[in-house]
């Protein structure tokens, strides 16, 4: 078909369509669209612009100066950013890796059907509904020098002096991770259990007839079929590792000496305690970008978009 022919066709269609457009669906969508625009798009765009600016003066007529990529550079050259990034990777083991394995194991045990399965499931899920701040405070008590754990360890003679779990360079981050694992395992277990329960029984029977071992069934059937559920868990874990704030803030405040500082707590300081508006905005977008990129990578690596 010639270009002009094609053009004519398109033009004709456009002309025709214009008079035929049914505006009603758009009208119905309008409230939702306005809400999204006001509460999501506007702040996002505003913050994005701010990340290339420096606030010189406050006020309605407040002066802002364009600084190009300086805010991003400031974040990325901040040694604490990299320290926090490293800690966040470690933290993600508590947020994602360890509870994923534990949750998968528990889900499979429960799915196979054991005695007291429903009460066990409820018990494992309880931590999920405990508010994070409450959990943080309770774990702080348990881990404090005169807390339950030290009492127990001293009582059985494993240690002589109480261990300072939370204000220790080495132990503060693992201590927070302990609480996070406790809270996340049940969460992942429920998601994975739902996935497992959705798997048809006959594929396992088919494998059984083929003489496949338990491990082969797990490796070649359960894991691949559970991929969508695992992917949800992984993406949630990545995003929550980057968002996790109260976990660390309540228990260690990021210390001692930034030993448990993670990106979100550091971001909080930069943006909201230091009043570095532009740098804070840039930091926020870096976190946003990281969450986006890592999630996309996770989805790509898993070889599918069926999330």
């Amino acid at each position: 078909m010639s270009i002009t022919g094609l053009q004519n066709r398109i033009v004709r269609r456009l002309r025709f369509d214009r008079s035929e457009i049914d505006w009603k669906p758009y009208l119905y969508l309008l409230p939702a669209f306005v809400m999204i625009a006001v509460f999501l798009a506007y702040p996002l765009v505003d913050t994005f612009i701010l990340s290339f600016q420096e606030v010189v003066t406050l006020g309605i007529q407040g002066e802002k100066r364009w600084v190009g990529l300086a805010n991003y550079e400031a974040v990325l050259t901040d040694p604490l950013f990299w320290r926090s990034a490293k800690n966040t990777i470690i933290f993600s083991f508590g947020m994602l890796v360890i509870p994923l394995f534990l949750g998968l194991g528990l889900a499979m045990v429960i799915n196979r059907g054991i005695k007291g399965k429903s009460s066990l499931r409820a018990l494992i899920f309880v931590p999920v509904v405990v508010p994070i701040v409450v959990a943080g405070i309770v774990f702080s008590w348990i881990l404090s020098p005169n807390g339950l754990l030290n009492w127990g360890l001293t009582a059985v003679g494993l240690i002589e002096r109480p261990i300072r779990f939370l204000n220790s360079i080495e132990l503060s981050l693992p201590s927070v991770m302990l609480m996070v694992v406790w809270k996340r395992t049940g969460y992942y277990m429920v998601i994975l259990l739902a996935g497992l329960q959705g798997l048809p029984n006959d594929v396992y029977e088919a494998a059984k007839i083929m003489g496949k071992s338990r491990w082969a069934m797990f490796r070649y059937i359960t894991l691949p079929l559970l991929k969508p559920a695992i992917l949800i868990v992984v993406v949630l874990g990545i995003i929550d590792s980057l968002r996790a704030f109260a976990h660390v803030y309540v228990m260690t405040g990021g210390g001692p000496s930034n030993a448990s500082e993670i990106l979100s707590t550091h971001f909080y300081k930069v943006a909201f305690s230091y009043f570095n508006f532009g740098k804070g905005a840039a930091y926020g977008f870096i976190l946003f970008g990281m969450a986006l990129v890592l999630s996309v990578i996770a989805i790509k690596l898993s070889g599918g978009s069926e999330i």
Partner: protein, 456 residues
């Protein structure tokens, strides 16, 4: 101070959590940096402003309403105390916990509806001046002509870029409290508390040996308790002539001998088990003192509540300035709030600006200072504020506060001071936990603070 702000925030988060935020990851979300500031409760200032302005300064009929923004419930007492003597101006107190207060103040200023008068934590003063947010109060200061301000408050507490942008409102200083009964039990003279590092160590050792009490309730570097490293640690550095940074604000001096000596003093206290854990996350030092598990506690000047909570302790309690190195001068951290007027009030409404200034005039008067001392429990900016019958009656406690007000230091003033707390806090933690020697830790802190200073 930051430490208190954190506590308040935690309470807020905890409350929100129990309502049902559950495990969703609390606050702190990642995406939108600045927009979070919009979350403030909006101003109850300025709202009625336009109509008032339109009415002009008509005398009599209805008073001009202005809003005072403060951080704790007790500070609401300023409003009735002021209103009692003023028919033409009515002050309303608007209380917001610190963490929320500054964020919402910023968004209110950006929206053009800032409160008329703000009690601004003095360590934020340089940053807000830098952002062009505060009106010049130099003329007001000169016009009032008070000549008995405590020395450390001018110029440091009030002045940035050679201009006075705030006047001292209520002052909080750092001291230590001690239990005289415990001192006697330990064989110490309850009327002459230790004054030097060495005396302090000796007294602590005596308490430890002769009694069942932990000598000192201390916190310096609890993670997340940013603020205490300035409030409790810096006076010991100042006592030896040290500083956080130089006059030109180009270089940190925290690696110098006075800071090293101070840190070594605390390290000894800690290593010999003479204090509670100074790196603990439990930032409150007074509770163990109040329940008599410790004989001494580093404290703020806000102690009057002990009278109700533990009368027995209150009866036996003494206050003293922090110890000093041999040959030094005892010091204290004079924090607290400056009273400021947002620049936009001056621009938008001359009447409100005048009303706000009238409030500040009152806050610096004997009447206003009496409210600060007696109703609220903090210290007044001027000496005459401590020359009252009430203070006279409590002289055994106030004498040391008076000395602290005279000998103490205003905070190190810099727009990025909050940012500098983090390296200092970390250095103290590392040294106390034995990760680094005091010299190494402070040297690292110096270079980190240097780079903050050099960011300009």
């Amino acid at each position: 101070m930051q430490e208190i702000e954190r506590r308040r925030l935690l309470q807020g988060i905890a409350a929100a959590g129990t309502i049902g935020l559950a495990g969703c990851g609390g606050g702190g979300g990642n995406g939108d940096g600045s927009s979070d500031g919009n979350g403030g409760t909006g101003g109850d200032g300025g709202g009625t402003g336009d109509t008032q302005t339109a009415n002009g300064g008509g005398s009599g009929s209805s008073p001009i309403q202005i809003t005072l923004r403060e951080r704790d419930d007790p500070m609401a007492a300023y409003a009735p105390a002021f209103n009692e003597g003023h028919d033409d101006i009515e002050v309303k107190a608007s209380i917001q916990p610190p963490e929320e207060k500054y964020r919402s103040l910023i968004s209110e200023i950006n929206a053009g509806n800032a409160p008329e008068v703000v009690g601004l934590d003095v360590i934020y003063l340089p940053r807000f001046v830098e952002l062009g947010a505060l009106a010049d109060l130099g003329p007001l200061y000169n016009e009032m002509g008070h000549d008995d301000y405590f020395d450390p408050l001018f110029p440091d507490f009030t002045t940035w870029n050679d201009t006075i942008h705030g006047l001292p409102f209520w002052i909080d200083c750092s001291v230590y409290v001690y239990n005289k009964a415990h001192f006697e039990e330990a064989g110490l003279d309850p009327e002459s508390p230790p004054e030097t590092f060495q005396e302090f160590l000796d007294a602590s050792r005596a308490i430890k040996e002769n009694t069942d009490y932990t000598p000192l309730a201390l916190n310096l570097a609890g993670s997340g308790s940013l603020g205490l490293e300035l409030f409790f640690f810096m006076p010991h550095v100042w006592a030896g002539g040290g500083k956080l940074f130089n006059e030109e604000m180009t270089e940190s001096l925290i690696d110098q001998q006075p800071a090293i000596d101070a840190l070594k003093f605390f390290k000894t206290m800690y290593e010999e088990d003479l204090s509670t854990d100074p790196t603990s996350n439990d930032t409150w030092t007074l509770p163990p003192f109040i329940n008599q598990s410790t004989s001494m506690a580093f404290s703020a000047g806000y102690i009057s509540h002990i009278a109700d909570q533990a009368p027995e302790v209150w009866e036996n309690m003494g206050t003293a300035m922090f110890p000093k190195p041999e040959g030094g001068t005892q010091s204290s951290f004079l924090g607290g709030n400056a009273v400021v007027i947002p620049e936009q009030i001056k621009q938008q409404s001359p009447e409100k600006f005048e009303a706000a200034k009238e409030f500040i005039r009152w806050s610096q008067s004997e009447d206003g200072m009496r409210t600060t001392v007696e109703d609220i429990g903090y210290l007044p900016p001027r000496q005459s504020g401590l020359e009252t019958d009430y203070v006279e009656e409590q002289s055994h406690l106030y004498d040391e506060f008076t000395r602290a007000m005279e000998q103490g230091h205003a905070p190190p003033m810099h727009p990025k001071i909050i940012q500098m707390q983090d390296p200092l806090n970390g250095a103290l933690a590392r040294a106390l936990l034995g990760e680094q020697t005091p010299e190494e830790a402070l040297s690292q802190a110096k270079s980190e603070i240097d780079s903050i200073l050099q960011q300009g």
